[in-house]
Symmetry: C2
Subunit: 327 residues, 2 copies
């Protein structure tokens, strides 16, 4: 079912994705070789182009008739890539999408500077729109993303992290970018306030659900499929909703055992499987799925102010797929 | 003489500096405690506020009569602080202005993320101007600065680095920010093209001279005054104009000796003094001073399209002081 939906989406956006790929390369051409090379390493390692695709589809939904959608869409992939470059340093991750992270192939410094460059590139492109409201959106995305990451870093390993704070972190570090990609198109097309808000709501809720689904993967997919070490979030002290929910519900004994595993970052596979059992036993997995489902529902609901159309259907499909995806 | 000029400038800009300090604090208040704390560490450690000051003075020169100059001026201090945070990581420096660098007090990750945050903050403030040309200038500054740093990193220790490439690097990593600070005011005040260009030229040439003077300090001031290890640039493989010029002029034997010192990053104080002797002998120091002097001349010359006024006099004094300063 999920594979079928994926194929349907991919065949519907094939041409858009080609245009996005082309624009991603085009925008980097005039720059220093090393910059392009590293930017390529992170940009062309199998990313799904979800963020730029959202922008392009939202633009179609708003009746955009210019030629610049793919170019403007790259803003969101560059912003995404920039944060990946900086986050891999932050997370001290060794692998991303099955490839060594940039800061182990090159060095920390280069990864940081190329991240800065991609950030700057995305702003330059945003400034080409000539619209200050769009630039405000991009600036706010960047502010939120860095704050979200800092907040996550500050609260690393904090056992008292609650659902509310978790939601704030994933909103900032993930959902605001999805929201911005959709909102930008509405601004670009001078949509009325209601439609701009509708697209922003779609993006925000999709982004929240997407991150929840991503956080679930750490506890539901084995490392070979995931392309990184099992239990990576937990090893980094990153408490996500399945764990937060379970910690809140578990009995004293189970809770103590969970905390022991969480605090010991070198936990064994057995210990990790034990923990996963508890996430099921106390419904942490189920609760997270339910939350994600509700946000997807809200995302789709938000689109109801738009008449039915091909791009609207794809946006709905993407929302459904965000829940169903295995990766 | 230089101390006298400094005091004259400081007494003339006392009120402006107070307003800038206030705005720098004000703009960070609403944000996460840790962000503000780290931002404070880098922002309030004795910086000269030269960049925001240039913006404020240029605005006065252009007859700006709004209330936002100090706020807009913070853009340039935040951008500067953001690059310091990322550069300290890049340079692996231990001390900056006599204090431990942020990434040794906190960690690399935090320093990177707070740098990102300050970058984003400066863009948000720029977007408040509602002028896309200003945002274009800011985006281009950021692009140039990251490219300049990457270029410097790529060419670390390269003995074939020529004067032209050196000029390109210092233009990008330093002078473009000075230029942007001055240009922004001209755009803000809807100055005619000639005056905008004049202010941009003033900033660019001042920035180039400023960096040359800064690069000279490594070979003319002892480490106690400088607040960092003697020969720091060379230890990092950073070849600057005094060395580049001397390498081009030195006889074979001296050149070989210089290269030996440059390649051995753990050179002794004696070796370093030996190198400094050659910088004097072949005129590398003198040539760099001469270049800096010429750029200061051009900077002052650029201002001639403006009638005489108090802010113009201060801008001229700042140009003179950039040459004369000991620090």
């Amino acid at each position: 079912m999920s594979e079928e939906l994926k194929q349907k989406i991919l065949s519907n956006v094939k041409y858009d994705l080609q245009e996005i790929e082309q624009a991603l390369t085009e925008n980097l051409k005039p720059y220093l070789d090393l910059v392009s090379e590293i930017a390529h390493h992170i940009l062309f390692s199998g990313g799904k182009r979800l963020r730029p695709l959202l922008m392009v589809l939202a633009a179609k939904l708003c009746g955009y008739n210019g030629n610049n959608a793919p170019k403007y869409a790259t803003i969101f992939e560059y912003l995404h890539a920039a944060t990946l470059l900086h986050d891999d340093l932050v997370d001290d991750a060794a692998m991303r999408r099955g490839k060594p992270v940039a800061n182990s192939v090159w060095d920390n410094s280069t990864a940081v500077l190329v991240g800065d460059f991609l950030l700057a590139r995305s702003l330059s492109i945003a400034s080409e729109t000539g619209r200050t409201r769009i630039i405000k959106v991009i600036a706010e995305i960047t502010e939120n993303m860095s704050q979200g990451e800092i907040q996550q870093l500050m609260r690393k390993g904090a056992l008292d992290l609650g659902e509310e704070e978790y939601m704030q972190v994933i909103r900032r570090k993930t959902a605001v970018l999805f929201q911005g990609a959709c909102r930008m198109s509405a601004i670009l097309c001078d949509m009325p306030q209601t439609k701009e808000k509708a697209l922003a709501d779609y993006g925000l809720n999709l982004g929240l659900a997407f991150q929840m689904a991503d956080d679930l993967l750490d506890y539901t997919v084995d490392s070979a499929v995931l392309g990184k070490l099992v239990g990576a979030d937990l090893r980094e002290g990153k408490l996500t909703l399945p764990v937060i929910c379970t910690l809140g519900r578990a009995g004293n004994k189970d809770r103590r055992q969970m905390i022991e595993i969480i605090k010991n970052k070198d936990f064994s596979v057995d210990q990790f499987e034990n923990l996963i059992e508890m996430l099921h036993k106390y419904g942490g997995i189920g609760y997270t799925k339910q939350c994600a489902r509700e946000h997807i529902q809200r995302a789709k609901q938000a689109l109801s102010v738009f008449e039915d159309s091909a791009p609207k259907e794809i946006l709905v499909d993407i929302a459904d797929y965000a829940l169903a995806r295995k990766m």
